[in-house]
Symmetry: C5
């Protein structure tokens, strides 16, 4: 299994470290290729390179989104582009983002970032190992990344 | 008839169960292929795989959208990508979503989710069986999924 | 002349009836192919099928948009997809929508819907018959569909 | 030099007249092909036709945008589609729009429309004649179309 | 190394000058091709030309965004189109923008513009020289362009 990890220098947390640790624990033999870019708008082309040129089976991207309207709009742009990458390569790209407006303190942001990166790294591993059936038993279970699970209703 | 169903672990209701039940009741012999992903942004590539690689004739996707601005923006991204999937495959993908801000209680959300999943599953069956004429008699009738029909004016 | 008409069961007015009447009055020999879908997000792939598979020269789509933010976002998605259909087929698709927030009563909405469907059906006929010169004399005239014309300033 | 001009019947000012006058003054021998459509969402496919089928070297589009949220969203859709036209043809399309919310009186809107159409027509001519170097001396100069230049800071 | 620089006449600061200086200091032998356009919506096709027709290895674009909602929407459109350019060419385009609403005085805007242009020019150089590993040591460090670095948390 060959997994790409794209992260940014804009992020205030080294989310890639958490993602890579989770992957290594789950699949010790996994090959990981990491690509660091300045900000979220630089992520999609990096993900594309990892998938098409480096032979990655899937990619996890780790974006950090500021609190302004401009940042939100940049998020839309980057995320839409990651959709295009997925449709072009027909491979999963788990598009993880932490938004500065979703927490009240840096400490909380740091916890969200670590938890989200880890859980989504494991989601990617599950999809790569088990395809569309791997997460079946959690369907509709209200799972959350970066937060505690909300559970089903 | 071969129908794809994509759902998420983020959803707080097992919407796929309702959709699959409705399909089975309407077309007992239908083949159903289910693909579970973490969240809405992971849905489009799964739908594409079901249509192109698994030979599905149509797909119903079951998304759950949180109440924040970020969630709404992610909805736009996922929905736009599902449009691209449809134009590429020239097949219908019924893009069902339940939004946390459209109800006042978990119980109401659960009812919306079940009703919407069921009704839209039947819409997909109708389109696959009867094409553009199947729903003709309901045109302009103000039908609603997840709510009671509003009716024509 | 072969014209496609796409409408929805979500709409509270049978807009296709008005559009088809207008086309028939203007071009009695026109062939009309109608395709009814559940909601606006199902329109683009139907329009594409009419243009590519059914040989339509142009299409008019008749969408109905609810009053919530989610509805507005779905409008963006559907409309953007109709742009892709047009660029792919290099044919006009007149993307008609009625928005629930643009009137104060159901009666007013009904009038808007009928007027807009009729006028835009005639716009499509004009473009198909006369190309880019057909509407030249109305350029900059502040024409409105669903409302009375505003006129030039 | 062959220039396409796309305008609308929705516009309340005959912006094409101003654009064409400016082009004719600057390049008396320029060929101009005009294409009039109902509204902004009909512009992109017309621009594409002018570029691909009519052999235009560049296009100027003249849109008029109402003051509602729906109008703004339609602006995004039309503008994004014009981006796709440019990337597909690798030719410049100057996407001019006048927004009803940017002035306080019809007279002011009329002045904005005329000035913007003229100045951007000359921008297109400059790009077609001189490529990426033609506007070099104005880089960072805070030029405005429809308003007086703001100048550098 | 061949680097494209796209800037605008709309900008109130000659950001290209700062970017080019930074590139020249970092890589004295770099070839730089500059393309000046009117506004941000004209940037993407220029970037595409530099990458596909002029053989640039990467591009930095320098946009200036006004303070109105329309300006923000134009930003989304231009930025999304720059994503398409990157995915099509599989090359980095560093999409730099300065927004008039992010500062309280022209002087502050000027400083933001200069700093952001310089830092991102160096980011582009780093990516072109060192690929996805060049910025590895700054991953998660909370770097900012146009502002002082926020640092990790």
């Amino acid at each position: 299994m060959r997994i790409g990890v794209v992260d940014t220098t804009f992020s205030r947390v080294d989310m890639a470290r958490h993602a890579i640790e989770a992957i290594k624990e789950a699949v010790p033999g996994a090959e990981i290729i990491r690509y660091t870019v300045p900000g979220i708008k630089d992520i999609p082309v990096a993900a594309l390179k990892l998938l098409e040129d480096e032979g990655c089976d899937g990619v996890i991207t780790l974006g950090w989104v500021g609190g302004s309207l401009t940042d939100k709009l940049s998020y839309v742009v980057a995320s839409m582009s990651l959709q295009l990458v997925q449709l072009r390569t027909k491979k999963h790209v788990i598009d993880v983002t932490v938004h500065e407006d979703e927490a009240e303190s840096p400490a909380e942001l740091r916890e969200i970032a670590a938890d989200r990166a880890r859980k989504h790294a494991l989601n990617l591993v599950a999809l790569l190992e088990g395809g569309g059936e791997a997460l079946r038993r959690f369907a509709g279970k209200g799972l959350r990344q970066g937060r505690i699970h909300e559970g089903p209703i």
